[in-house]
Symmetry: D2
Subunit: 363 residues, 4 copies
């Protein structure tokens, strides 16, 4: 109810502030007998970690997860998986000047208005630090999905004005992790890096977009009317800090097309395994019809605003309504999208795992 739980059958409940003792969560509904692949979980966390490239804040988060329950001798037991990550890099004094200040386009003022009290240290609960718990749970969701051969892969499709023009079907997504900005096209990746270097020199920030693809999702996932698969994905994406938009399949561009151009024609297609399936020849539907997965690739695009924290001096107000000049931070990411790739994947995996279990009940 209070927005700290995600999912219905495969559920994640999180806790933790940026500069409290720990962030963590409880994964509930993870089926028993799943191999809890700790090295895989740690690799996923490393993809979110600060300091992994020149384009991320050097905050020294260790992001070392402690699992306290739900796993016995390397296997999930079906009981809740409690976990936490201690916050080790706490320099409380650094944040004292923020105690009474409302930073522009941060959640300082709205938290104050909502709760009448707020943890001012590094954004408190509103900090993107909480997303570490999403990555942990997302890793378990991916492990569950792997049982059905379902994969989730995201990549950076634009940074500021630098945009990847090739469609995902023309890209080698396996190269995403080779790029410091997680753009699988080497040429565009280089341009993005160049743009980010300029932005960092300016002590400024910028936004970008991430594209995500889920393959081998079986037909039938999704719950009409209100919980269409795209509705759950949109919910999941817009819950990520800094996200401003979501579109799937033909998206906003599709609105200018005609029905005769947009409809995906059906055809019988012989699959690699020799079976004959009803498939669509195009996929403007983005793998979902009427809220239910069709078996085609699910793909969507997520918009991230420029990071609000910048190194330039800004003018703002304090809690007495006085003008205050302040300079954001010594350390921050110039752009949210490279590190957000794994968060987009995690939230996608959580949605799919939840709907996968839900469909099992009905069949």
């Amino acid at each position: 109810m209070s927005g700290n739980t995600f999912g219905r059958l495969f559920r994640l409940t999180t806790f933790g502030e940026s500069h409290g003792r720990a962030v963590g969560g409880v994964i509930d509904g993870c089926p028993p007998g799943l191999h809890a692949d700790i090295p895989f979980i740690e690799r996923e966390l490393a993809r979110r970690k600060p300091g992994q490239s020149d384009y991320t804040t050097p905050r020294g988060e260790t992001d070392s997860v402690i699992f306290s329950s739900g796993i016995l001798e390397g296997m999930t037991t079906g009981t809740p998986i409690g976990f936490w990550i201690l916050n080790t890099d706490q320099h409380e004094e650094e944040y004292d000047h923020l105690r009474k200040l409302f930073r522009p386009s941060h959640a300082d003022l709205t938290y104050q208005q909502k709760y009448g009290i707020r943890d001012h240290r590094g954004g408190g609960r509103a900090s993107a630090r909480e997303t570490v718990s999403r990555v942990v749970a997302g890793a378990f969701a991916k492990l569950l999905l792997m049982r059905g051969n379902i994969t989730v892969q995201a990549y950076v499709s634009s940074i500021g004005p630098v945009s990847l023009t090739t469609n995902y079907t023309g890209l080698s997504l396996d190269k995403t992790e080779d790029s410091p900005v997680r753009c699988p096209d080497p040429h565009t990746s280089a341009e993005m890096e160049k743009y980010l270097q300029d932005i960092m020199r300016e002590r400024n920030s910028t936004g970008g977009t991430i594209t995500c693809i889920a393959r081998h999702v079986p037909p039938g996932l999704g719950e009409p009317v209100f919980d269409k698969l795209q509705a759950a994905l949109a919910h999941a994406m817009l819950s990520i800090p800094a996200v401003k938009g979501f579109e799937y399949g033909s998206g906003f561009k599709g609105t200018t097309m005609k029905g005769s151009e947009h409809n995906d024609p059906y055809a019988l297609v012989t699959e690699p395994d020799g079976s004959v399936q009803i498939r669509t020849l195009s996929n403007r539907s983005g793998g979902i019809q009427g809220g239910i997965s069709s078996g085609e690739d699910i793909f969507f695009r997520v918009a991230f605003k420029p990071i609000s924290t910048i190194g330039l001096e800004q003018l703002t107000l304090d809690d007495q309504g006085r003008n205050v000049r302040f300079t954001g931070a010594r350390r921050y990411d110039p752009c949210p999208v490279p590190r957000a790739v794994v968060i987009v994947e995690a939230m996608t995996a959580l949605v799919l795992a939840d709907y996968f279990l839900m469909q099992k009940c009905m069949s």
Copy 2:
């Protein structure tokens, strides 16, 4: 769980297929003592009704609501409001040719795959007919919001390639209902009409976008982390049939900006009532920070794909995998957005009413 309930405190559960006996629902959690303004509810329904203009299907839906509970002597009692609308315009025989056919970009095949059985008549549960229940519940939500002076207004901001370039702040939204396509700018409205006439002549269809604005939303609505206000709005919008995208505030365009340009500066502003408030001078945040309403206007844009039903002959498959030629329908809307304006408003009102009640618990 099965996707037929929306909301947590202010809840709507719906039932009904396009060509079953009735569509309807149960509104639960509507506070007691609210005047159930039946003429207002009927006006809202009239805005969704087919046949209201040249650009909507002439299906003779009467859309006459029967309330069966929860209202005593014109007032809500706090108990569930059950309601239904009988489906009167049922020509079952018309739909018999659809029994074994999968129409392109409709939910025929995915429903069959999910449930193993489907109501083929007019799309069954996947038909936009179900949205009539959303409008009924949305009307109650609007009545509740009016207590707090909160208003929700949507309008058509593009149809196919014809796009309204003026920002909402420069428009007279009260003129929306004067336009047959629900575009408040007379010049653009005329162009949209012209485009739709061409589309209809071609027996084709097109898509469009709707912009929605909620004013006077008090600061503090929204639940971090997973149930940010924008996440709930995105969920609500993507649950509407034919919706492909959602963006709020600066949206996708904002991704190309720099942080220094995008951040909304704070200032003390003297309000019309003489009080001095902390406000933002710009509103790229779209009225939401960190998932919580800031008190500024909330605005967002919703993308609708072209209607899948067209009057042109299409080639498709039947349930035996045989090629079949078929012609969509004699009657259909050439574009979803004019009638969807009230649905977008209804879903927005449902979200805000729910979060409004949620915030009351905490304060």
Copy 3:
């Protein structure tokens, strides 16, 4: 949230007041492809119906259900099953004297205190009339459970001081419906009838208990920690009007035993089908261990208070705090239990169907 929905995967949402236009509900999550056996549903409703014996109010409820959705050609489609029962026997004028009166041990005053407004006609939403919707949904739940050979049978085990001493294992439960008071033991049934005749002559009322048994429940249903199977059953039972207590297995009596006497010893048992199973030789556990079904019979007992409506004159207060004499009603049940048997079964079936679907997700 507002208490009008029951269940998580197999869900019932109800609406309706005793003397409004209709009572009804929405069954959501019922799997597709289930034969909607209308005659069976009607037989279940007949068991709850007033006027079926000398010991029930003669209120002329027709209890004729209208199904409006979710069923196509006699089969469930997986979409929500909307239904309603019109209230035909409305004599509003009869209830006018109750408008400002608080009847002792009725919900008149508490509804007034909670909502500030109430439907005074026949108890409004607090009337047992709402249980008709439970019986409809319970019938679908029973149809689902039959797929797994699971049966639910309840009977009257006491009326006032007249108590059935034989354990359920020594009774022919098939004879329950032969008894006008639904006690399967003919001798005790006759004594109960005699007691009820005395009570009716006095224009008084009395209480009683119902025992319920679920057989063939597979091992593994139930969700630790907070949603143990017995917790869900207790919740379901205490939600029935007039219920004051619940006990399962050894119940309250078991509290006086010693552990060595109470523990159920395990043994290998050869089943009728020749298989060898781990079973318990006794069943003080009532078919549930640690919140999870064990495969043994689940049985429990439910306490009902005397009906608050009596034919004797009572002294009470009106909404001005004035003393008022009033006489309950010309027509009422002298004891709630005979008609409540089918309601206990329905709620049990709803719980088991829900947990049955839940377990499918995990396996």
Copy 4:
């Protein structure tokens, strides 16, 4: 969904096995600005702790809670309160003989049947060790209720055959904590102790009952139809390990009464503060009418079975179906009720806090 979350607005999600690294939970929905009274929380934990008297197992649990979030400078912030208690007294080797054994009337076999895997160490998730998290959350719920002067007090009303005959209104509940068995009547307490000494000498165990009273609950809490206040209380109580029954107000005994004797008459009563209120002269209703609190004391009784762990040798089966003799444990509680008093209070407080917040939304 998986039963590890309790409540809707005031919510507790727990994790942890008896012999894993830690038990703990997340309290979500606790309003901001509440003084997090750590000494009070520790006193509550001390009441549940093993080793506090001669009648509890000497297991050396330190039960030292670590709070990791949601509290800033001693005040709740409205964000989730994450907490854990490390399991320090782990002697894994002690439990090795239980790996393949099914202890009678424990959850060993049902967990194995449900999950196909189980943590055999000390009962794993089924151990009463999890209740420590309930006590932590219950303490916060009590702190919230204190704002409204609502109190929750429980005591032991029977142990085995030794039963307290005085009604709660005739007892000094403040003396409960003076008794090693938590019975406020010194004479009965002494008898209970004597009985427990006999039971311990026999290396056996016994059951008992707990009575709980909530005072100053305002009228209006409770949600008809399915979430009546008594239904939520019954759910809460039956979720506690070893509980077999629940009754409130007149309970099972009330079933033998006549309506004229059972109905609670209304009267105008002058309160200590001089105000005149509509009250009932008796309280067989147990403070709840139609599922809604009436303002009278809420009271109920909870049945606990004898502890399944005993010191006597028992015969049971292993996972190969072989007969095995085993002796329960060197250390165990002879009776569950003295330590369960604070658990009953905690669960009651959680229910009332949840319903208290729920009612705020509607008013």
